[in-house]
Subunit: 227 residues, 2 copies
Amino acid sequence: MGVTGDRFRHEALGVVFQVREDRLSVLLWQRALSPFAGAWALPGGQLLAAERLGTSASRHLAAKVDIPEIAHLEQLETRSDPVRDPRERVLATAYLALVTVGAQPRLPADTAWHPVDALPACAFDHQSIIGSARERLRAKLSYTNIGFALAPETFTIAQLRDLYAAALGHEVSATNLQRILTRREVIEPTSGQSRPTSAGGRPAALYRFVSRSLVVTNPFAAFRPRD
Amino acid sequence: MGVTGDRFRHEALGVVFQVREDRLSVLLWQRALSPFAGAWALPGGQLLAAERLGTSASRHLAAKVDIPEIAHLEQLETRSDPVRDPRERVLATAYLALVTVGAQPRLPADTAWHPVDALPACAFDHQSIIGSARERLRAKLSYTNIGFALAPETFTIAQLRDLYAAALGHEVSATNLQRILTRREVIEPTSGQSRPTSAGGRPAALYRFVSRSLVVTNPFAAFRPRD
DNA sequence: CGGGTTTTCAACTGTTGGTAGATAACTACT
DNA sequence: AGTAGTTATCTACCAACAGTTGAAAACCCG
């Protein structure tokens, strides 16, 4: 462990998800220059000398999207294929970032949202990283309260069902969703009601997430005695 | 994204777990030199120019323990605190490594197993990394077949119960364990029987893991319709 | 007031998992 | 052998969890 040793460039990448028009979408920017000119890439950039990876991810994301919009950020994984960047070796640590539904952050001209089930050609290993992020999000929706980072402050059960359905990629029963999340004390009713839409129908009760920071709630720990 | 940019040393660390005498233990070596002289550290070392992180972790572990003994290896997380190493900034990517119970790899003189609930003073941020690794192992025991990497080829339910109890840190019911893992098709009975011990008692049936590579088995995906 | 629409709730069901106690298969000792 | 001791295995029970269905509630509009 002397002072010798190879050194590497290192970048932080953000997989920013938002549910837009009932589809889970990811923020990408289009590369103008080689390599992968024209292909779409995850926002991110180099790690600085005195910077932590999480800070670096936030800093680079700030160039694409207003940071307060990012309701949750967590480290995903580190990619180390020596030739993942054809120019020079760059290690990449990916972060999962979630943006509340309905937020409309201003975007630079080269940047756009893409539904994850209709991705354009992606640069580097970014498509595979997006896949990992989807998996992580899907799993955590089932056993944590991570939905708080996708949902607005208050919402109806129907809105929440659509949001979960988009993020999970399959139908979700509103009855089930309400019962499970209420029993786990992940969501709670507020006194408010939605104003009825023009289409008529019973006005929906408004709910909110009990906590807006990550809590693991699912009792998915088998083999544990009751006492 | 020019050619300029800071470069960093990067190391791979291995959190090697084995159940020894019914206690979950981790492999550590004792530092002789400053910094943290006398403290215990995780095995690991520098990433080389053309090497992937997983390969690097395996390579450094090979210096401490025979590699074929490592039944499972997976990336855990990357630590980036700029001052986690007081000499110079070093990023560290930790791996979770599991060694089959009963294996007795030869160890260098400075290296020893330590029960995780009685850790000595640890160097750098290694104690906290060991904590993360325990969490990961505990969670995955509940919803994957990862026990295959801790258990021998064949085993009795009682042996498996002791192994799970050590890794999970609480009592485990043999009845429950057998029923759940059998129903999930994680383990299956073999034709063999354990030879009775000198203490007497009914000889136990021998089981084996159906698969010896990681499979996610727990249906912990709520909100999914049956068909 | 009655038909259309959406939300909410209650009841039923199958599955999972924790518990307790009975039964099976062995050793050792008298 | 017979009996006690020991360990393993199995069944039955029960509570909690989760998916489904359909009815009731609360609004709109004409």
